[in-house]
Amino acid sequence: MYIEVKDTCKNFVQDGKEFTALDHVSLDIDKGEFICLLGPSGCGKSTLLNALAGFEKVSSGSVKIDGKEVTAPSINNITIFQNYGLLPWRNVLKNVELGLESKRIGKEERRKTAQKYLELVGLSGFEKRYPKQLSGGQQQRVAIARGLAVDPDIIFMDEPFGALDAITRMKLQEDILRISREEKKTIIFVTHDIEEAVFLADRIVVMMADPGRIKSIVTVPLGSHRDRTSKDFLYVRDKIFELFNMKSESYIEYYI
């Protein structure tokens, strides 16, 4: 398996009380898959993402990418954050060039690459703007272009569209789906929005809180072109809804 999470636990101590963010979580992910980690707040989906991205160490178990234990963040696996993380003192072009600079790529080449990815996210002509002059959706596009520019293997996305309005969010969902197919990246996407997960994912990892654990993994049997109003789409969405209402503690792998 490309990404292997094996029997992983993560405990925090908060206000003197121990708190289990991840309770014996195991998960395998193939190269090129689009995975959504779906669940309510406190279910450990962001903790799991941070462990995969190398920002947090797990308490026990192992997290491996391409056979290697994850110990620190790597430029091969880029994380896209909810609040974008753009550097406000750099213009759009310079922001996208950030990762290329630490890859020691020459000035000309950096500019070309940055412009290529700005075009891919639909922001050609915004090179000289500053993040403050852009809308939230545009800022997230810049962050996505910045991530893609270093040609990562995996893109981690931590509720990336959570701060955007519904229309902008849908547009960005369509774009990220298109980009993931064109660029052939493995994407792990954290969300608490069921519809978003059904729209994007090849497989949805449904998580539950207290303690944070995987309840079931649902393979989404929809093709590459997804219609939010189609019968199939609504059917899958309803299945996920049901999962959240069920009391059963059993671990089910779903194939619809």
């Binding site: 993380g85 003192w89 993040p131």
Partner: protein
Amino acid sequence: MKKLISLKNVIISVSILILIWQIAFSFSSYDKALFPSPKMAFDALVEMIGNGSLFENIKTSMYRFVTGYFSSVIVAVILGLILGRLPKVFQYVNPMAQLLRPISPTAWMPFIVLLFGIGDVPAIVIIFIATFFPVLLSTVSAVGNIDPIYLKVSRNFGIKQPELTWKVIFPAAFPQIANGIHLALGTAWIFLVAGEMVGAQSGLGYQIIDARNNIRADILLATILVIGIIGIILDGLLRLAEKRILRAWGGQG
């Protein structure tokens, strides 16, 4: 338009100040030589400009000020950037800084004069001390207050020291550092005069002592006015520079 209004306000405000001064002069029973009128102070100013002593003293004071202030800002910011990233070390440096900070730089004056003698150095050292602590502490706290997402992004994109400091930490902390640098400017200018009154034989501060020794209250007041005006100009220049840099930081200001 906004500038025009503020200019109008300045003129009115200064006029009122001069008017109060004139009224106080008219009703005072002090000797004219001890408490001169605005007109006399203005004449003294013209005299000082005429014989070149004013320009000479401003030049001397500005040299000391610029040397002391900027060397202190550079050292304090660099040290602050380092200490801001080393909270464990700063735990031990902080009590030292807190102990030294409330001591008025003038308290060091006799000691400084004993060590360095009379001349440029005591004034420069005083300005250095006056600038150092506010800039150091605001830099350390600015580095501590950086939005952690910048550091997360930097780790993700493999930005390591020393690039991390000048590409991310310094610019991210800059607005708050600039605040400290700005506050320190006013303090430093105040202590320049104090420093020159004790430790120098030239400069604007010395001119005040000199005027007192010669019982020239008109020169004394004229010098005080000049010190105030230069203080305002320095503040305005720094504010302008700050605005420019902040604008380059991303459309603020």
